[in-house]
Amino acid sequence: MDRLASVSRHEQGGVSIASIGGEIDVSNVAQLGHELTEIPNHALGLVVDLTGVQYLDSAGISLLYELHLRLDRRGQVLVVVAPPAAAPRRVLELTAFNTRALLADDVPSAVATIRETGESRAHNEA
């Protein structure tokens, strides 16, 4: 069976970016979870880019929410990117994901959000 989704990763200014393409559901959510949690300790945070995702349901929401909690415990920030016209946006809104975690319209603003949050945390810690 073809892989339902693929993940590509890169880093940008201390922020790890994972771009997902395809569909996310109960059949591949565990595999995706493994791939996404492999994030370097030094990174300020993780951007999960859902721009290329055609399908997302509650399995994916659960994954993202767990990811958010895990990173948060490690002092890292998760920002999910879902452009307003993309398919995942509706599910993210219906589940009020944005009230629990950070949601951005595009990758640059997500990266910016992480940098701001990281700086304010560093500032607070200092």
Binding site: M1, L4, E23, D25, V26, S27, Y55, D57, S58, A59, I61, S62, Y65, E66, A87, R90, V91, L94, T95, A96, T99
Partner: protein, 735 residues
Amino acid sequence: MDRSGSEGSRGPSGAVSKTVDDDEQREGTPPAGGADGALGHSALLYETDGLSDRVGILLVDDHPENLIALEAVLEPLGEHLISTQSGEQALRALLHEEVAVILLDVRMAEMDGLETAQIIRSRPRTRHIPIIFLTAQASDVEEIALAYASGAVDYVVKPFEPDVLRAKVSVFVELSRERAERVRQSRARAQAETVAATVRKLQIVSDAALAHLELDQLLTEILERATTLFDADTAGVLLGDDGDRTLSLRATHGEPFLLAEGSQVVLGEGPLGRLASECRPTLLSAAELPPPPDGVDGTIDSLLAVPLVASGELIGLIYLGARRGRRFGAEDLELLVLAAERVAIAIDHAQRFARGLKLVEILQRSLLPERLPPHPRLELAARYLPSGFAAQVGGDWYDALKLEGERIGVMIGDIVGHGVRAATTMGELRNGLRAFAIEGHPPGEALRQLDRVVQATLGPGMVATVLFLILDPEAGTVTVASAGHPQPALLAADGRVRFLETEPCLPLGIDANAAATERVHPFAAGDTLVLFTDGLVERRDESIEVGFERLRNALSEPADGVEALCDHVLEHVLGDHPSQDDVAVLVVRLLEQPAGPFELTLPATADSVPLARHRLRAWLGVVDDGIDPAAVGDLELACSEACTNSVRHAYGPADATFSLHAELVGGAIVLEVRDQGNWREQRGAQGGWGLHLIRSICDTVEIQRKPDGTTVRMRRGLGSDPDRSSPSSNGAGPG
């Protein structure tokens, strides 16, 4: 005169017993000639045979010496003298002798002459025979008067004058000869008239016009005519099948007084079965007949039954029954026997013809597809009508087959010519074209290949027209190529009718360089294509354009459904003119939407979830053209969420499954997901999102929990947003 015969007549056993002896003797040995021969032939008075030309003269006198005297006087006449010694003997002799004149002694010991004469006069057979009385007393006027009153034509007083007596007798002998000749002539005339009438009647029953009728019509016609001719009340024909020991009632006329519909007669059993197996034409009276069938009021009084024999074989039985006290006679039976000979030949001919015809028709039908391929979006129907003229079973054919990518190939063709060769050629063309189509050749190329096959293998003189279309419902196109075949009619969804243009090309088998090329036309939902052979539109003495116009008119008031449309087209285009050629019609319609609901059962594993979602998406893509993409997305999501729940909570057996059912109901999709598990709505991050989402995007949601499983029933309209007025919709998130 035969002296020994006369002597015998004087013996103790009397003349009559001598005559009987003669008869018995003659049974075994042919007559040697002379008087003995005349005796035996006397019944054939009117034959022109020289011996039997002699007439009988009966002598009655109780005195042997008188008889001897009479014989001596009359012998010179050269006629047949029959001597008897009493009135009784005379009467017995008259029972089997033809007699021209009787010489009767008035006074005899027992029965006297007068009494004997009265009895002779009272019998129809002997009433006309002149009697000459022999009396001893010329003066006995009273006796003479009595003699005349008893029927005497003359009297002779004994002792008689031999010359006078001989002259008197010879007058009556001549009179008798003349009378016999008159009777012979009138009988001959009557016989000739009877023969002529019989021939006329035979012609009525089996004239040449019947030779061209098909079997059933032939039987009906024969029985109708026979019933009238014989003044019968019921008639029937039973026919046998080859090798069968039974005859089945094949046609009847009038009330079924003898046999009920569908009756069978076993050869050798019952009166009809016996006379059939013995090939014995029979006249039966009421007492010999089987009782009438149940529910039939009335019986037959007389029945003629004649076996039908053709080429020395029993093929059936014809019967005629009469009621109302009518009795058939021997002459009726004879006439029916003569008629039956001709009828049998006509029936045999019609049967052989029908069998040969049936074979070709069976062959042809075996080469047509038994069923057309099912397709979710295409409806197909076809009809084949053999030629109205039975002898011309033709080479029309059609075919349809599934091709790659939900496309369908549709073919129709017409082989020039008829009979077995055309039918078998049709089979070759059909298989060849199938192969080229399955190989993936487009219509034009497939026809070019087929033409090469025709030119190479079927030889000159085999000409065929073929039309090949590939319908692609996804693309909404029809690709068409024709080799000299009439253009198909296109009935558009909006009701307009036109003929689908094809690139002109010669029929197959004419020009090796002819190359069919294809054209592509749009084929939209609701469009209907009508493919046909020229038998549908062609009529003798009429331009084919008129036929095309008739088809166009028929399609302008189309029937619902492709099956009905086929019948409608045949009925309105052919009308009362059965085609002289065979006719094939194939109708294919692109449906607005697939008719069937969505059904799917999958193993309760995570991998089934995307599969279920994708299948549903494909079904939603064809179920309704007007569905909004947002509705498709929402239904995919609802489907996945429900399936995810089923997969996660499948506590059933290891090989548990879950099932989906979806259909379009009242402008909305109703989707049901059913599993064998028993789960409860969960709150919290893990489980609560699913049902929450379903509720958010569907108009209504019902969850049925039963011990053997859980069913989630979701309804979602076709618009961009769910119906917010629905009570179960709910925007709030869990926890």
